[in-house]
Symmetry: C2
Subunit: 427 residues, 2 copies
């Protein structure tokens, strides 16, 4: 029977704290060096795509479906068959897709760079506008926020609810303030909370009427087919909803195979309306002669079609699912009923999001670090790395083997309890 920490007397808490400190010291003596900081696929997952490398060799045919030699310059939009492939995956027409290099983050950065240097929709470049702001659903992805910081874009946090960003707030802000130029979204199995936006949220996004004519929704569909259960959550097709509203140039969707084949050696893609793509394509035409089409060919020969991709994702799931189970079991066993933590139960994606007692997240991450387990920095999931309540911690279960995860989670739970006891004792 669990007792909430809040109902313990000071003496009981002190005694408990002593026990926890003892357990913590035992962990320190183990001299662990574990890492749950980043959403990095495990070695087993990388092995799943090794055969892809056999698919192209010196005997292969290197012509694209359009008869272009994939080994030479050209095709700045990517291989036609890869555009069709990502089009099917994202459920948008192939002509609305640009297939790029090895990183969707790079494409997002470049899209913002394009807005900053040359501007979207006939508006002044963001770099020449007095003030540019972005809405940032929180908790969110640190690298999105970092891009804003780099470009001097002011970030406004918007709470992420169980159905997506607080749309009342989003609608109000974007309709009133024309310096708000964009919003970061991870609409399916969001990083870190695992939330999938509801149909209503998606429809309200499509229906947005922002004051800024050059407002863009950065729709980072990073986990579009990254399932952990038999009952996938279904994200409504924003591009389709936008088309109904005539607003398809307002959304730019991104995805990649980084967590499908090889991180760093995968293929990234983006999709948008014709007008937005034309502006981006102009940027691209100055930046490069074309993407790595051999790697695109390697990918399409390996998967053949989206069904092949989905079968491949089942193999990832088989590797990831036990890791997530291990993390969630530990949280359930050690922390439930104590009133000191809440956590997500993701059906996909790469993270478990834990909210500890206000003011305790930094302390927990520090304790873990000193105990030999590196976590994502506390605050990382908020703009400017400032979690106002110092409560959110992102756990990334994908990389360590289950045996290490168990150890790491044992330590993590001790640290959460210890930090809570310290806090409640007013230390």
């Amino acid at each position: 029977m669990m007792t909430e920490y809040q109902s313990l007397s000071k003496e009981e808490l002190s005694a408990l704290k002593g026990e926890l400190e003892e357990q913590y010291r035992e962990f320190q003596a183990l001299d662990l060096n574990l890492n749950m900081a980043r959403g990095k696929p495990s070695t087993d997952q990388l092995d799943l795509s090794l055969e892809m490398l056999d698919g192209l060799n010196s005997e292969s045919c290197f012509f694209s479906s359009t008869g272009d030699d994939c080994r030479n310059y050209g095709l700045v939009d990517g291989l036609p068959e890869m555009r069709a492939f990502f089009g099917e995956l994202l459920d948008v027409p192939a002509e609305n897709v640009i297939v790029g290099g090895n990183s969707s983050l790079n494409m997002m950065f470049d899209a913002i760079s394009c807005a900053y240097i040359s501007g979207f929709d006939g508006c002044a470049p963001w770099g020449k506008q007095e003030k540019v702001k972005f809405l940032c659903p929180v908790p969110g992805y640190d690298r999105h926020f970092a891009i804003c910081e780099y470009f001097g874009i002011e970030m406004i946090p918007v709470p992420l609810t169980e159905t997506g960003p607080d749309m009342d707030m989003v609608e109000k802000l974007v309709s009133e303030d024309e310096s708000i130029k964009g919003i970061w979204c991870v609409p399916k199995y969001s990083n870190p909370s695992g939330v999938t936006y509801s149909d209503e949220t998606v429809r309200r996004f499509a229906a947005l009427r922002p004051a800024a004519p050059d407002f863009k929704i950065f729709w980072d569909n990073a986990y579009c087919i990254h399932e952990l259960t038999d009952t996938p959550e279904v994200l409504l097709n924003l591009f389709e909803e936008c088309k109904k509203q005539g607003s398809e140039n307002m959304v730019i969707t991104f995805c990649s195979t980084s967590k499908i084949t090889f991180p760093g050696s995968g293929v990234a893609a983006m999709a948008s309306g014709e007008k937005t793509l034309a502006t981006y394509r102009r940027h691209l035409s100055y930046q490069t002669i074309g993407p790595d089409k051999i790697n695109q060919l390697r990918h399409i020969r390996f998967f053949k079609h989206v069904e092949g991709l989905k079968e491949h994702m089942e193999k990832h799931r088989a590797i990831l699912q036990p890791r997530f189970a291990s993390v969630l079991n530990a949280l359930e066993k050690e922390l439930s009923g104590l009133g000191i933590a809440q956590w997500s139960h993701p059906k996909g994606g790469y993270f478990v999001s834990v909210d500890v007692l206000p003011g305790c997240a930094k302390r927990v991450v520090q304790l873990c670090k000193e105990g030999g387990v590196t976590l994502t920095g506390a605050g990382a999931t908020f703009p400017y790395k400032k979690d106002p309540n110092d409560t959110n911690i992102r756990l990334a279960p994908s990389f360590p083997p289950v045996i290490e995860l168990k150890q790491a989670m044992n330590l993590f739970c001790i640290c959460v309890k210890l930090a809570a006891a310290e806090k409640l004792l007013g230390e």
Copy 2:
């Protein structure tokens, strides 16, 4: 015995023009569709690197020399062994090299983007400075000039002499005008004229004392080992000369394997002083998690060392040399002694540069186009596509087979003569 066109009477010229028109019409009847527009390797050249694709397969080891799994995220500066490889190639320390993605053009664009967004050397970002200018040795590479246009950078042409850019002019301009922030250089076998900068030119570059503290030399060493003869021209090491002067942060060197392995699927690299690299690396850290290290590994396993690379380049030369000979023979046979054209005799690189009579370049390119041979647009080798004398034409002999080149050059020479006759007749 050749007679200069300038010494022909009006009647002789008219008769000649009639003959040339007849020859031109015969060509048109052939309905050719040939292309000498871009410096694109031929299919034979692409075949030279096919074995590289066999070097990495599902049985390979994917650890870098530092024990990192090349299949996963990380190593934003590139594989250590690739940094060493490019360091040896460019004769700079490995720690001064960043190995990136598939395109050196992309790295140049990103370096300017970095200056535009965050600035170099503690100066205001170029995007926030009132005026930014670049020196552009002419004729030069159209894609360099296009990047300047995109960023709104004003271009100042500087004549390229047989020993490199007019250094008196470069020194005077950069020391007087602090809005001059950079210069584009293709220092070896320059695009299009084939000039290699002299030792004195390189030393004068190293000794530049620009008024702008954030002045950068964009040293695009695209043809550093792209020889066409047994007697390579030797470019003095600018980085080394700069180090002697303490100015190594002023130069950014670029190169890639695009014309060594596969265009679009090669590996690009840049090198500079520590301070400049730190600024660029910061930019990079927001833009991407890391480059395609599997492709880097594939390259280093294929070449093993710079000697292997040089042996590989001999094979390219064997394919390219007859193509260049075919172009130069045609020019020699058809145009020498006529007083209507001069051309380069490159010992490396990818182009032959032809200067026709002033006011004739556009006409020649148009005549060729209508005769079935696409050339680089006249003016492309100058900023804003404006060749003040309308005289320079860039020929790219690498892609078409020799048999096609011969046809194309026959037509080209007829067009040069025809345009000259028209011009001298005052038409």
